[in-house]
Subunit: 291 residues, 2 copies
C-alpha cells in the first residue's frame, strides 16, 4: 500500500460529485481556479518551511522598505490561525471600515496598507478553527473584497508550510513576482526551507532569495558570540540550490522587543550591526524585485 | 458584509451536494466522523499557536520520559509539511516496513515507536503540497494503518495553528487525555498559545498544562542573563486562563544542538540547569497524565 494513493482516492471522492446543480466549482482542488483581478504590479510571497523563523519580521520590514522607496504597498497577513503582523505594527485594536461592500484595509502610512485576519476577529484570543476550504474562501476575499487601491507591491506573509494558504495564493494572485524564503541557520529549519524552495519552483515562480535570520548572536553583556542556532545554513542552502542569498540578520533581543512593542525595526534607524544587516537585506530585495 | 458569513456560505456550497450516489460522507467538515478504533489508553496532543517554539522538542522528550516510566509509547509526528521528529531522533533515513498491509512504525526502543510523514517521502527535501482533505486522509491512515500494537500513550506532535491537522486528530482519536500547550515567553507567541487553549477547550478536552520554552538564557561565556524572548509570559497565561503551569525550559545552545544532532536531550542526563528544568517539566506532565 502506498499511503499517497489511498489519499488521492479519498480526496477525489470529496470533489468529484459536482452534479448539474452543483454550486460554483471554483474551489475545487483539482481544477486551477482563474487568477483574481486586482490592480497590483508585483505580488511577493514571504515563505518559510518552519515556523518561528522570522517570516513576519521580514515581511513587515520589506513592506516598509518598499514604501520608503515611494511605492504603493499592500501587506497581506495570510497566517489565519496565528496572525502576528497587527501586533508587530501596534495595530491589534484596529477594525477595518466596510465601505460600499468593500473592506477598507488599515492605512499605516500614506502608501502602506495592511490586511489581516486579526482585524476581523471579535478579540485577540479567539482561535480560527477552520479547515482548508474556509481558508481558501477567506484568502480570495482578502484579494478581491479589500479596497487595496492601485498597488505597486502586495507583500504576502504566509504561515509556515506548503499547504492550503500557500497553494491558494500561488494559484489566485496575479503578477506573482516571486518568493522570499526565510530560514534560521538551524538544520531542521534549513531542511524545511529547501522544501519551500522546491514548492516555489513547482509553482513556476522565481525564488527571489533566501534570508538567514537569527544568524549568530552577540551577548549584550560581554560581546562574545553565542552560537545558538548556528550560522551559515541559509547561505549554504542558497548555494546548493542555486538561488540568490539576500543576507543574514543576527539574533538581537532589541529586534524581538520591537516585534512585541509594535514598532517595525527598520524604522528605528539606530546605527547598529543588526540595523545595518536588516537594511542591507531589504535593499538587496528591493533591488532584485525592481530590476 | 461580514467576511465570516460569506465564507460559511462558500464552504457549505462545497460540501452540501452529497446526492444518493455520493461517496463516503465521513470527510464532510460539517458532520463529525466516528472516532477510530486503536488500542491506546491515552492520547496526548502537543500544540502551540505559533511555530518554532519547541513543540517537537517537548513531544520527543515527553515520549522518552513516558517510555522511561515503562509505558508503551507511540510518537506520532503530524507536522505533515515540516516533519522534524525523525531528524531530531537521527532517524531521517529510516523507511517503514509494510507487513500484511500495515505500516510498521520505526521502533526507537523496545517500548517507543515513531511515525512521521518524513518516513514516507522519497527524500528529505520533497515538499508535501497538500490541501486539507489530503491531510485528513493521511492522519486517518497514521492512526488506523500503522501497526502501533497496544499502547499506553500516543503522543501527537501537531503543526502550529488550529487548522485541519489539529481539528482532524481531535475528532478522530479515541481516549483523548488532553493537550499540552508549548509557548515561548514572547507576547506574539503567548497570544497564539491562548488561542490554542481556547481551541482545546472548544474540543472539550482538558489542557494538561502550559510549558514555557526558551525562557531566559544565560550567556555561555559570561553567565549573564540575556533577555531574548523575555520570561514569564507562559506562566502568566496559565494563571489568567486557570490551566496548570508545567514549568519553564531555558534557551540553551546545547538543546538546539541536540535537536540538530538527533539526540533527545533528556537522554543525556547531564546535570545542568537546562537538563533539570526539562526533566522537571516532563515529570510534572507524567504525574498529571498518570493521575
Amino acid at each position: 500500500m502506498t499511503p499517497q494513493r489511498s489519499q488521492v482516492h479519498e480526496t477525489r471522492a470529496e470533489t468529484q460529485n459536482n452534479g448539474p446543480s452543483a454550486p460554483s466549482p471554483r474551489l475545487e482542488p483539482r481544477g486551477l481556479p482563474p487568477r483574481v483581478e486586482i490592480d497590483v504590479k508585483h505580488v511577493i510571497l514571504v515563505l518559510s518551511g518552519k515556523g518561528g523563523v522570522g517570516k513576519s519580521t521580514v515581511s513587515v520590514n520589506l513592506a516598509f522598505a518598499l514604501a520608503n522607496h515611494g511605492r504603493n504597498v499592500g501587506l497581506l497577513d495570510l497566517d489565519i490561525h496565528g496572525p502576528s503582523i497587527p501586533k508587530m505594527l501596534g495595530l491589534e485594536d484596529q477594525r477595518p471600515a466596510v465601505l460600499d461592500k468593500a473592506i477598507e484595509p488599515i492605512h499605516v502610512t500614506g502608501n502602506l496598507s495592511v490586511m489581516s485576519m486579526a482585524f476581523l476577529l471579535p478579540d485577540s484570543t479567539s482561535p480560527v478553527i477552520w479547515r482548508g476550504p474556509m481558508k481558501m474562501g477567506a484568502i480570495r476575499q482578502f484579494l478581491t473584497d479589500v479596497n487595496w487601491g492601485p498597488l505597486d507591491y502586495l507583500v504576502v506573509d504566509l504561515p509556515p508550510g506548503t499547504g492550503d494558504e500557500a497553494l491558494t495564493i500561488a494559484q489566485l494572485a496575479p503578477n506573482l513576482r516571486g518568493a522570499v524564503i526565510v530560514t534560521t541557520p538551524q538544520e531542521v529549519a534549513v531542511l524545511d526551507a529547501i522544501k519551500a524552495i522546491r514548492f516555489v519552483e513547482k509553482q513556476e515562480m522565481p525564488v527571489l532569495g533566501i534570508v538567514e535570520n537569527m544568524s549568530g548572536m552577540a551577548c549584550p553583556h560581554c560581546g562574545e558570540t553565542v552560537d545558538l542556532f548556528g550560522k551559515g545554513g541559509g547561505e549554504r542552502a542558497a548555494q546548493d540550490f542555486d538561488v540568490p542569498f539576500l543576507g543574514s540578520i543576527p539574533l538581537d533581543p532589541e529586534m524581538m522587543r520591537a516585534g512585541d512593542e509594535g514598532r517595525p525595526y527598520i524604522l528605528r534607524h539606530a546605527d547598529t550591526l543588526t540595523w545595518r544587516a536588516i537594511a542591507e537585506v531589504m535593499e538587496n530585495l528591493v533591488a532584485r524585485v525592481e530590476s
